[in-house]
Amino acid sequence: MNLSELTSSDFLSRIKGDGIVLQTGAFITRLQTSIPAVIDGIRLLYSDYALVEDKSYADFHVSLQYPSNARRWFKPQALFLFDGFAPFAPMPLDHAFPVFEWGLNWCVSSHAHRYLIIHAAVMEKDGRAVVMPAPPGSGKSTLCAALVSRGWRLLSDELTLISTSDGRIFPMPRPISLKNQSIEIMQNFAPEATFSRKVADTIKGTVAHMKAPAESVLRSSEAVRCAWIVFPKYEAGSAPRLESVPQSRAFMRVADNAFNYSMLGVHGFRALAGVIDSSLCYDFTYSNLEDAIDIFSTLKPRDAAL
């Protein structure tokens, strides 16, 4: 049963009561809140997610609450709680939905150590994944959103989860986080997509979220192997340019973008080495999304390219 199949009153009673339990890719998340912005965001962007009826287990028990102080009435705030503990300072109430998204990313990157977790977008086509590690400002999420709106399956716009046992990448399709100019760019590029309202003046600037395609959510249990690692870089006015990166150098750059490479020790090294072994690695400079999509459609896997 999907969240969209709940009646409005059932949805509200669950999310405000014991919490709503959702299958968010590889994880089960229980969310409890009575903050309208979060409730609206969940209803809009998580309608295709499966409800977990067995409420006895969740990987992450999360709530968004009003802090218990006078600021509930004066410049109200929202507080993200994980297992009843507040890992972050309260944020302005208007930022509550982005705070939920960022908080859930924190839950995964801080706790899911059966995976090597890379700060990278990951998409799949024809059974092969492309991983895009990149620092903020590289256009990673915008490019990810564009590819997803043109038929690539979304695994994640932010966290690539590589199993340390078999090297497969596990999906965690969630709303794609867009910032500043990228919001309007994507609203024009993919007018059929669903976007949350813009939230201004957050720690990341103005942010909005693009809904993950229903098919990506439906296939969120299908793990896949990496075929390409692409380091994207948006450069205004540049022609699209795909340049090969030596695998050893790609290894170091991906490790630099991992949340838990050091923590996993040799298991992280082996998992990443396996991924690099199977992948072709590139630097990709672009300025135009349609050009970028064309280039990605020409990517050949290692066995076909060599």
């Binding site: 050893s248 290894f251 170091m252 090294f269 080495a273 690099i276 072994d277």
Partner: protein, 92 residues
């Protein structure tokens, strides 16, 4: 007196090679390093046995027709110093 060197044992040092570059993971320091083929070969030799720099040059040039030159020795000693600073080799 010349130092005798040995590398960390295999269980503490994992290596993966791509083309002519070698990525080493040092399980004792938790650090990862990229090394070129000469430095990697030196580590492999120093895992097999403890050697001083001259013996190392001799082992590296075993199949070479040319005699050991001062430049070779200097280069190997510089790499030994770097590998030591990375905690990939130790004095015996």
């Amino acid at each position: 007196m010349a130092s005798i060197w040995h590398a960390l044992p295999g269980h503490a040092l994992e290596c993966h090679a791509w083309n002519d570059e070698f990525v080493f993971y040092n399980g004792l320091s938790g650090m990862t390093h990229i090394l070129g083929p000469l430095a990697a070969q030196m580590i492999f030799l120093l895992q097999e046995s403890s050697l001083d720099s001259l013996s190392l040059v001799n082992s590296l040039t075993l199949n070479s027709e040319s005699p050991v030159e001062a430049d070779d020795l200097q280069q190997v000693e510089e790499i030994l110093s770097e590998l030591h600073s990375l905690a990939l080799i130790e004095r015996s």
